[in-house]
């Protein structure tokens, strides 16, 4: 009878026929941060060199390499010897997404402001000019920010890894997913880029996914909806001269000869830039909604489309004839795995395949491009061909420099690792 008593007491103590289910989940979510516009004024400072954490865009200027640490600042690297690049300093710039350099003046975005910085001494960089209220919103790494001109407050979002425990319905009505708290989340690989050709003078090289580019004395910046033109004849005093409305989803800008190629997620816009102060739209080459870096060489435009959060499209590379700029037409499409940034120089095409590695192609014959080498086991999203034998590639693991004089056998010169 004692046993029975124990049995019943156990049952009654635990008596409840309601299921008890808890879910412990770890996820990344956006947390809003507010920044007063006045805080931006003296926010730019030069610091000691730091480790790469989340590198996005790269920019090459003379012997310097500038690596953008999204919204945090810029790494300035002395690359006179590509086999052993040397970190010089870290430039702390809140809200920086893009950069361009001309004549030792570095132009960056500082949330709403366009800032000109003198980098003749990379160890102590000074602010020489600032144009306020140029940008109202922006998006990078899938996170948007916006400026409220009335309250003069910038609302940005920060990705945070959160672990929380909630009670669930025991799988009764499917899985319960976490909720995101504002800020837009899109494809992280938005910020891939590759190398443009054709910029002359002493300006540097950015990527095909760059939103800033310099042509002659003008700086072009694309926001999500506009093409903004700045006169930078006097480097210290950048002057906004024109704004061209373009519609939503603008991603990249790429100068070629006296033309501007603007990539949006629905097509490629071609602008005539013979009057640099007021570019005029010539044509649009439309394609499926996709993320699409674009590069141009020898009157052929190379556009990669990939599936991602910017749209559902097949993974492919299109080669487009742009000899007649007012009516571009497709030459051929090639199937790819997950193409990101690309770069073309002297018919040597280098293409980043995201987690599938890096590919080099011979594109002398656009109807029949030939795969030269496929480096697997690396993550590649951004590539710049600096000259005939020097390739910069950035991925999640760091910045790689290759000697690509033989496109069938790339030689790794150096690697700047990302510290996690």
């Amino acid at each position: 009878m004692k046993k029975l008593l124990i049995l019943f007491s156990t049952v009654f103590l635990n008596w409840s026929c309601t299921d008890d289910c808890t879910q412990t989940r770890t996820y990344r979510t956006t947390i809003p941060i507010s920044i007063g516009q006045e805080q931006l004024k003296n926010s730019i400072t030069t610091k000691e060199p730091q480790d790469l954490v989340n590198p996005s865009k790269i920019y090459a200027y003379e012997n310097y390499l500038i690596i953008c640490e999204t919204k945090k600042g810029l790494h300035i690297i002395d690359n006179s010897n590509p086999s052993s690049p040397l970190k010089l300093s870290f430039l702390n710039i809140p809200g920086v997404i893009d950069m361009a350099v001309k004549d030792n003046i570095l132009y960056v975005d500082n949330y709403t402001d366009l800032v000109a910085l003198d980098i003749s001494n990379p160890k102590s960089i000074t602010e020489v000019g600032r144009l306020k209220n140029m940008f109202n919103n922006g998006m990078v790494d899938g996170i948007s920010w916006y400026f409220d001109p009335y309250s003069k407050i910038i609302t940005d979002y920060e990705l945070k890894t959160v672990t929380e425990t909630v009670k669930t319905n025991c799988g009764q009505n499917g899985t319960v997913w976490p909720v995101f708290r504002g800020g837009m989340l899109e494809d992280r690989a938005y910020n891939s880029s590759s190398g443009p050709t054709g910029t002359t003078g002493t300006s540097g090289k950015g990527g095909s996914m760059a939103r800033f580019t310099i042509h002659e004395d003008y700086l072009y910046a694309v926001t999500q909806s506009d093409l903004m033109v700045f006169n930078i004849k006097v480097g210290q005093k950048p002057d906004s001269v024109n704004t061209v409305k373009m519609g939503w989803g603008i991603e990249t800008i790429f100068p070629y000869k006296d033309k501007l190629f603007v990539g949006s997620n629905t097509g490629m816009y071609i602008f005539d830039n013979s009057n640099p102060a007021s570019p005029e739209r010539l044509s649009i080459f439309q394609h499926a909604r996709a993320c699409d870096p674009v590069v141009v060489e020898n009157d052929k435009a190379y556009v990669t489309l990939r599936s991602g959060w910017c749209g559902a499209s097949p993974n492919q590379m299109d080669i487009i004839d742009v000899n007649n700029l007012s009516s571009p037409f497709l030459i051929k499409s090639y199937q790819m795995q997950n193409p990101h940034g690309l770069s073309v120089l002297n018919s040597k095409l280098t293409l980043c395949e995201g987690e599938f590695g890096l590919k080099t192609y011979d594109v002398k014959d656009a109807m029949d491009i030939k795969l030269q080498q496929h480096i697997k086991d690396i993550n590649a999203f951004d590539v710049i061909q600096l000259d005939a034998s020097h390739l910069l590639m950035i991925g999640k693991d760091g910045l790689y420099q290759y000697d690509n004089s033989d496109p069938k056998n790339l030689k790794l010169l150096s690697k700047i690792e990302v510290k996690r």
Binding site: K3, L4, I6, L7, T10, V11, N14, W15, S16, C17, T18, D19, D20, C21, T22, Q23, T24, R25, T26, Y27, R28, T29, I31, P32, I33, S34, K160, T161, V162, E164, V166, K167, T168, N169, C170, G171, Q172, N173, T175, W177, P178, V179, F180, R181, G182, L185, R188
Partner: protein, 209 residues
């Protein structure tokens, strides 16, 4: 509960010792099979959460009311063992429990004891306890299910028939632990582990021979 497990252990050790020492005596204990089919009734609570949106600090979601609904799942079980005493049987219980999205195969040590009987041919009051482990089978493609401890005490009636078999009606309580891990992850969803403590009232009918 803590006291029952040692008792069960002692009983089983005792029976095994006997079998080792005197193999012939094993068959002195009559074989018992109790096969039952029934329904596990439970209640399910769906809690709604409020996520504070516009805040620069992370706050965990706070509860914002709940919905309760009844759930029922099918259960099949078979107890196979030996009648070690006149009123007591010890054996192994296995079967199938079809919980929501997860199918469990229980493997448990079982114990059956007749508490009360007026006479040998009349109805008897029987109690039983099954304690063990449930092996989970995956159901959803994005989930990995892992079973866990199960405990199933029951009380019921045994109605003997003329040929020595009996009909069974049992009422019990079934506890089952399941752990579900999402095997889907990307840049934003890193890991998700759900622990389910399923507590059900069981009603089973069956047959013993």
């Amino acid at each position: 509960m803590k006291k029952i497990i040692p008792i069960l252990l002692i009983l089983s050790i005792f029976s095994f010792q006997k079998t080792e020492a005197q193999t012939k005596k094993l068959f002195k204990y009559p074989f018992v099979n109790q096969t039952e089919f029934g329904v596990l009734f439970g209640r399910n609570k769906e809690t709604y959460y409020y996520y504070p949106y516009y805040s620069s600090v992370y706050y965990p979601p706070s509860s914002n009311g709940f919905n309760i609904q009844n759930v029922a799942s099918l259960s099949l079980q078979t107890f196979n063992g030996f009648q070690v005493r006149k009123k007591t049987s010890i054996g192994i219980t296995t079967g199938l429990d079809a919980y929501n999205s997860v199918l469990i195969v229980p493997i448990a040590a079982g114990f059956r004891h007749v508490l009360f009987e007026k006479n040998e041919k009349g109805a008897k009051l029987q109690t039983g306890l099954d304690a063990g482990f449930g092996i989970a089978n995956n159901a959803n493609s994005n989930e990995n299910a892992k079973g866990g401890i199960l405990l199933n005490p029951a009380v019921g009636f045994k109605f003997p028939t003329k040929n020595g078999s009996s009909w069974l009606v049992n009422f019990g309580y079934k506890y089952q632990f399941i752990e579900i891990t999402q095997n889907y992850s990307d840049d934003y969803n890193i890991s998700t582990v759900e622990t389910r403590n399923l507590k059900r009232f069981s009603v089973k009918v069956g047959f013993e021979f």
